[in-house]
């Protein structure tokens, strides 16, 4: 069994086949798999709607990654990442709607905007730890829809009406549907952002961030500028989640204040916790989980309640809650953490 495990650690030590293909296997997968999916789409096996679902999974994975970077690797708890998701979505939507920007140009703008907002929110948050930070971000999450409806920004946001965004057609006359084209765009952006995140965590900065999480006082005696790193990390985390928000607005073609209620922040948190709070793979699993639950929990709970004749109607949120509590007991490091622990045990025996 040990020979078939493909964790990065194992390959670094024991990889006998250091061929080109093996070395760049993740990148090759990233090119081959989407192209196969597109081919399947051309053959009519995957509908445009399913491409939209896939794109949403990847978008949520980026959003969850933002929270994982902050909470899992830097130890700052946020219950309010839906706020940054909203800032990203609105930045992109307003630029497209009011200034007529092409969608791809709004992504760096949304990223920058969210970095600034996140950094500014991170400054007061520096003084807060643990429960207090959770409380402050909880308040932020609850207040978001109301802030978006504020009267003086209504000319930009159109208040409760929301903004309609129109998808652009694929460029260069590519023979793709809009949903297929956006799927490729989302995959490319996600790949870039995960790659940057991995390199960030492998760097000197990453080690400083993790040191702050594990013991901030010890880290500061070692010469790590704790407040600088923490605020910057808040900004970077908001940037990730904000780009996800911008992509969500673009592929969903609509943003409105009530899409960014407290439930969204919870969903991002649930994704991070279920996937694995201190793992990049956890973000991928978390993104899939969020999208699957959002899509199918309703149907699943209805099926369960009619199958066992419960006197009450089960709701998707019940699954969220129960999943959260059970995971905290059985796999506090989420699915990714649980699988990694399992692999380690199997290698040892």
């Amino acid at each position: 069994m040990a020979t078939t495990t493909t964790t990065p650690v194992a390959t670094a030590d024991t990889a006998s086949s250091s061929s080109f293909v093996w070395r760049y296997r993740y990148w090759l997968l990233l090119i081959v798999v989407p192209l196969l999916l597109i081919a399947a789409g051309k053959a009519g096996l995957i509908s445009n709607f399913q491409f939209l679902q896939l794109s949403l999974m990847i978008v949520y994975a980026i959003a969850v990654l933002g929270l994982i970077l902050l909470t899992g690797f830097n130890g700052q708890i946020s219950l309010g990442h839906g706020a940054f998701f909203a800032v990203g979505a609105y930045t992109a939507a307003i630029l497209i709607d009011q200034a007529g920007w092409p969608f791809w140009a709004t992504l760096p703008a949304a990223a920058l905007m969210c970095f600034i907002v996140g950094y500014l929110f991170g400054l007061p948050a520096l003084r807060l730890e643990g429960h207090y930070l959770a409380l402050a971000t909880f308040a932020l999450a609850v207040a978001v829809p109301q802030i978006l409806k504020y009267r003086h920004i209504e000319p930009l946001t159109h208040g409760v009406m929301g903004i309609n965004v129109f998808k652009s057609d694929p460029p260069f006359g590519l023979p793709l549907s809009t949903d297929q084209w956006m799927f490729l765009v989302v995959v490319a952006i996600a790949a870039l952002m995960f790659w940057v995140a991995r390199n960030l965590l492998d760097s000197r900065t990453g080690r400083a961030l993790i040191a702050i999480r594990d013991h901030s006082m010890a880290a500061s005696t070692m010469g790590v500028n704790v407040s600088h790193y923490k605020a910057a990390m808040f900004g970077i985390s908001a940037l990730y989640t904000g780009v996800a928000g911008a992509l969500h607005g673009i592929i969903f073609e609509f943003v409105a204040p009530d899409s960014f209620r407290f439930e969204l922040s919870i969903a991002i948190l649930v994704g991070a916790v279920v996937g694995g709070i201190a793992s990049l793979w956890g973000a991928v699993i978390g993104g899939i989980f969020v999208q699957v639950i959002e899509k199918y929990a309703d149907a699943a709970t209805k099926a369960i309640s009619s199958a066992v004749h419960l006197p009450l109607e089960l709701e998707p949120w019940l699954i969220y809650g129960i999943a959260l509590i059970i995971l905290m007991y059985t796999m506090p490091m989420g699915i990714a953490g649980g699988v990694a622990a399992l692999l380690r045990r199997m290698k040892r025996s």
Binding site: A134, A139, I277
Partner: protein, 301 residues
């Protein structure tokens, strides 16, 4: 001027509810250092229980004690079964479990009683009394009930041996354990009491805001703000804080309205209530994290 008094009185009435919730939050915080994010949804669930008993024909004043006992049992049950194993868990695990509880109560209430808005009749008679031009009967009732609750709790903690034991367990668990107090059970009792106080808050506020699963979200936020303003480690402070933010909430909206009429410039109104709460929370947390009445805790390496 009359309107100002009305707004202040209404603020005090809302403040009474915030004070009760803040008190429930503080009770759990003092003994376990946890901030119970599910407190609002638990109170909402209790309010639904009260409504259910009234639907079954009970009088409000019979239903309320019944629901308080039920909520107490639920609170104790949650502490014993779900939070007990997490006593030494990292903060994130605890916060996540609270969020899990929040979603469970929310989904249960929506599943059992549906999401349609329900009106709860006020338990107070609609009589006119001196000053009834300024404050409604239900609003006055909320304030009175809150004050009665406060005195009852104060008496419980000061005058009964069990109250003393609970205070000891919260203040110094190790010594309390040596003195023969079952600290674990004291924590569970604290949870039960917090749930019961929350039940009163939920049942009192339901006639004022209509009953629906989302009703406590904004109220909980103001409960947090109240607890923080007063100092989240001080029960008396939390109550004062609750009243302060209640009045502040209404006065900010009132003066926002005055400014708009005077200058035509809209700054803040009823639509910004949650944003105001957010600003209060963040301001207090960053400038004076121990609140007005809390004591400073020193961190040890």
């Amino acid at each position: 001027m009359e309107q100002l008094i009305q707004q202040t009185a209404a603020g005090l009435a809302n403040g009474a509810i915030y004070a009760l919730l803040a008190l429930a939050l503080v009770m759990i915080f003092v003994s376990t250092d946890h901030i119970n994010f599910a407190q609002g949804e638990m109170a909402m669930f209790s309010a639904y229980l009260t409504w259910q008993f009234i639907q079954w024909g009970a009088n409000f004043w019979i239903a309320l004690p019944l629901v308080m006992v039920l909520s107490f049992a639920i609170g104790v049950g949650i502490e014993r079964s779900i939070l007990r194993p997490l006593h030494n868990a990292p903060v994130l695990s605890v916060v996540v479990v609270f969020i899990g509880l929040l979603t469970i109560f929310h989904a249960l209430a929506g599943g059992i009683w549906t999401h349609t808005i329900k009106a709860v009749p006020s338990p107070f008679p609609q009589v006119s009394f001196p000053g009834s031009g300024y404050i409604g009967a239900h609003q006055l009732g909320m304030i009175v009930v809150t004050i009665v609750m406060l005195f009852a709790l104060f008496a419980f903690f000061r005058l009964t041996p069990l109250g003393l034991a609970m205070r000891a367990a919260a203040q110094n668990p190790a010594s309390a354990r040596l003195a023969g107090i079952s600290v674990d059970w004291m924590l569970a009792l604290g949870w039960g009491l917090a749930a019961a106080v929350g039940a009163v808050a939920g049942s009192m506020v339901a006639p004022a805001v209509y009953l629906e699963p989302n009703m406590m979200a904004s109220i909980l936020l103001y409960g947090f703000a109240g607890a923080l303003v007063g100092g989240i480690s001080s029960p008396g402070g939390a109550v004062a804080g609750g009243f302060i933010v209640g009045v502040l909430e209404n006065l900010i909206a009132y003066f926002g309205n005055v400014i708009e009429r005077a200058t035509g410039l809209y700054i803040v109104g009823n639509g910004e209530k949650l944003t105001v709460a957010l600003i209060i929370v963040i301001t207090v947390l960053t400038l004076k994290p121990n609140g007005l009445f809390g004591h400073v805790t020193v961190k040890r390496v």
